[in-house]
Subunit: 198 residues, 2 copies
């Protein structure tokens, strides 16, 4: 019986999941403004009648779900890097963002950042904060395991997240990978020197 319920829920949430994924993609490409229900429905092919069935609280609920999705996906990737050196973790995190830029031909960025700078909802801001904080904390944990002191690990984790986000924005604006790659090179070098203190 449990299996039946699970299956029903899975079926029921399929459209919902597609909408959340679509919203996350649109946020990354067009920002909060460009992520309207119409756009989401067009992108996902979801039926218009499903909107307020799946998201009774309206747009904010959809956006919050998209933020959570984007956040947890990156977090899963980070957790796969356990045991790697600080340099390897740094390169892997940068690789995540590089692929976002390259695969979108420099048209996409970070969905969470896009919401942060465009919303006036405390709830959405808090959802974004949870994501950023979780990234920082998990990265810092990896750096600690990799040999950095706790404070140095926390500092470098914050810098890695901030500089990656900023590098993505710069490259999007300039329509060139140059700024991002400059930042990436600097971060990798910094990770190397932090891991082998004088």
């Amino acid at each position: 019986m449990t299996s039946v319920i699970v299956k029903e829920e899975a079926v029921a949430s399929e459209t919902k999941t597609r909408m959340v994924e679509g919203a996350a993609r649109l946020l990354a490409m067009q920002g909060l403004q460009g992520t309207s229900f119409s756009e989401v429905l067009e992108l996902t092919g979801a039926p218009r009648g499903s909107v307020y069935h799946h998201f009774p609280e309206g747009k904010d609920q959809l956006i919050a779900a998209a933020i959570d999705l984007a956040g947890s996906r990156a977090l899963q990737a980070v957790d796969d890097w356990a045991g790697r050196t600080p340099v390897q973790v740094t390169e892997a995190f940068l690789g995540l963002w590089r692929s976002v830029l390259v695969r979108s031909e420099l048209r996409a960025g970070c969905a969470v950042l896009a919401v942060t700078v465009a919303t006036d909802s405390p709830d959405l801001l808090a959802a974004a904060a949870d994501v950023f904080r979780s990234w920082r904390v998990r990265l810092a944990a990896l750096f600690e395991t990799g040999g950095l002191q706790p404070q140095a690990a926390a500092r470098f984790a914050a810098t890695l997240v901030a500089a990656s986000e900023g590098g993505v924005v710069l490259s999007r604006a300039e329509q060139s990978m140059e700024p991002f790659e400059l930042v990436a090179a600097e971060l990798v070098e910094r990770a190397a020197s932090a891991a082998t203190p004088a």
Copy 2:
């Protein structure tokens, strides 16, 4: 006669200037979505009839002007730092953003970034790119003068801009100066070690 013309232009552009400044402030606080004509007029007290008189090309023209304003203001500050050491320049640039955060009680960020992640206009993207590039170039020049090699200077300038922008976003989301200050400490230390190579 020239003075008369100049005066007329000055008077004519006073409302226009106020609108551009208001737009820049709103962009930094509420993003592109929240920077509507209504909001700009309410904030600046400008007459509604002036909108399409001063900005015949519509909203994009106003936003482009706001980007230029925000960009050139920061650039003026950077140019005032000629002769300073890399560490001092880094601290000054970070100070610019720290004051944006603190004075707004963590409610404002970078207007140029807000446009970059929310627009679909190639013109606005290009305007944002010009700003970011100019910041990177001028900062790199100061770092070169301060003793860094050209490539190292360009790399650290890009990192300083990117990490500052990202740090502002993180602190806004988390409603705490912590992430920004972690990033700031890391950047200052990096500037110090870059200026005195092993």
